[in-house]
C-alpha cells in the first residue's frame, strides 16, 4: 500500500466513476431548475464538464507542457495557453451558440421560455468574436496614454 497508488486510484475513481454519475444528477437538477424558471446554466455546463473531466485534465497537461519542466516561464506560458484556449477556441463556439439562440429568439421559438432580447444574443456573439480586437484596442489606448496629458 502506497500513498501514491492511493491518491492515483482516488483521482481515477473520482474522475471516471463518480463524476460521470454526478453528471446525470446535475443534468436532472438543470432540467428542474429550467422548469422552475431559475438559473440552470451552471448546473447544465457542470454536468457536461463532469463527462469531459479526462479531456479537461489532458488539456491542462498540454497547457503546462509548452516549455520544459525547469523553465521559469512555464507557469506564465501555461496561463497564456489557458487564456488563449478560452478566448480563441471556446468563445467562438459560444458565439455560434449565441447566434443560434438569437435566431431562435427572433423566430419566436424560445421567447416564451426566457425574456431575453435577441439583440443581447447577437451582441454577445459579436463580443465573443471581437474579444481579441477589443483587447488590442484597450492596449492601444493605454499605449497612447503613456505620454500623459499634453
Amino acid at each position: 500500500m502506497t500513498f501514491y497508488h492511493g491518491i492515483l486510484n482516488l483521482t481515477g475513481w473520482a474522475g471516471n466513476v463518480i463524476l460521470p454519475t454526478l453528471a446525470g444528477l446535475f443534468l436532472a437538477i438543470a432540467v428542474v431548475q429550467f422548469s422552475r424558471g431559475t438559473a440552470y446554466s451552471h448546473t447544465m455546463y457542470g454536468g457536461f464538464m463532469c463527462l469531459m473531466v479526462s479531456g479537461l485534465l489532458r488539456a491542462f497537461e498540454t497547457f503546462s507542457s509548452q516549455r520544459t519542466w525547469n523553465d521559469p516561464d512555464l507557469f506564465w506560458v501555461a496561463s497564456i495557453s489557458f487564456v488563449n484556449w478560452i478566448c480563441n477556441v471556446l468563445l467562438p463556439l459560444y458565439a455560434a451558440l449565441q447566434v443560434a439562440a438569437g435566431g431562435l429568439q427572433m423566430a419566436g421559438v424560445t421567447n416564451r421560455f426566457q425574456p431575453i432580447s435577441w439583440m443581447r444574443h447577437f451582441a454577445s456573439a459579436g463580443l465573443c468574436l471581437l474579444l481579441s480586437g477589443l483587447l488590442r484596442l484597450g492596449e492601444f489606448f493605454v499605449t497612447q496614454g503613456t505620454g500623459g496629458v499634453t
Binding site: 502506497t2 491518491i7 474522475g15 457542470g46 473531466v53 485534465l57 491542462f60 519542466w69 507557469f75 489557458f82
Partner: protein, 221 residues
C-alpha cells in the same frame, strides 16, 4: 580507554531503535496532517512538518553522526550485535511492538477511523477529501519509510538529500495527480455555482511546481 561493553550495547540499542522511532514519527505526522492543515495542506513549522523532519532524521541518524567527525569529535560507532541479553531483548521487543502493533494494526485502525471521519465531515458540511488523504497517508507508512530509505545517500548530507528527494517526489509525482483533483473540484464548483477559476489556476500551478521553483530562483538571482 576501551569503551565499556554496556555503553556499546546502549549505543547499539539506541541506533537500532531509530527505525521504529521513524515509524512512530510517521504515524504522528499522519495524525498531525489532519489536525492542523485540514488534510490537503500542511503548516510549515507545524506538527506534520516537524514529525516528518524527525522521521527523516531517524532514518539518516548514522550518516548524520559523521558531522561530529568533521567537527573533530571522533565518533566510533560500535560494530557487532548487542551482547547484553536483556538489552537485546528490549530492542527486539520495542521493534516488534512498533512494527506489529503501532504500524501493523494501530495505523490501519486509525486510517479506518479517518474514513469514517470523512463521511462525518461531509455530513457536517465539510469536505471529505482531507480525511481520506490522511487515511491513505497512514496506510502507506511502511512504503513511505522504504521511500525514505532509498533516498538515503549515506553521506553526512543524507538528511538534506532525503528532504530534497521528497520535495522532488512531491512536486513531480504527487502534485500532477493532485492537479486532476483540483480540476474535478473546479468542475464541481461550476456546477454548484461557486468560484472555480481559483482551482483552475491551482491545477496549472500544481502541474508546474518545479518551474515555479525555478522562477523564484531566477527572481532572487
Amino acid at each position: 580507554m576501551v569503551t565499556p561493553q554496556l555503553l556499546n550495547d546502549v549505543i547499539n540499542v539506541l541506533l537500532l531503535l531509530a527505525p521504529p522511532a521513524a515509524f512512530v514519527s510517521l504515524v504522528l505526522a499522519g495524525i498531525s496532517l489532519r489536525r492542523e492543515g485540514g488534510g490537503i495542506s500542511f503548516v510549515i513549522g507545524g506538527g506534520f512538518t516537524k514529525w516528518m523532519f524527525w522521521a527523516v532524521v531517524f532514518v539518516t541518524l548514522q550518516p548524520l553522526l559523521m558531522w561530529f567527525s568533521s567537527f573533530g569529535v571522533p565518533v566510533s560507532l560500535p560494530g557487532g550485535g548487542i551482547n547484553s541479553h536483556w538489552l537485546a531483548s528490549l530492542q527486539t521487543d520495542v521493534s516488534n511492538f512498533v512494527t506489529n502493533f503501532v504500524v501493523g494494526r494501530l495505523a490501519t485502525t486509525l486510517a479506518a477511523y479517518f474514513v469514517l471521519r470523512a463521511i462525518l465531515d461531509a455530513a457536517a458540511g465539510g469536505h471529505p477529501l482531507p480525511s481520506v488523504l490522511t487515511a491513505m497517508f497512514l496506510l502507506g507508512i511502511q512504503t513511505t519509510y522504504k521511500l525514505f530509505a532509498t533516498y538515503n545517500t549515506g553521506t553526512q548530507n543524507a538528511t538534506a538529500d532525503v528532504l530534497d528527494s521528497l520535495w522532488t517526489y512531491l512536486a513531480g509525482t504527487i502534485m500532477p495527480i493532485a492537479a486532476g483533483l483540483a480540476i474535478m473540484g473546479a468542475i464541481f464548483n461550476v456546477a454548484t455555482q461557486r468560484p472555480a477559476l481559483r482551482l483552475a489556476g491551482v491545477a496549472l500551478a500544481l502541474l508546474s511546481v518545479s518551474a515555479l521553483w525555478k522562477l523564484v530562483l531566477a527572481m532572487v538571482a
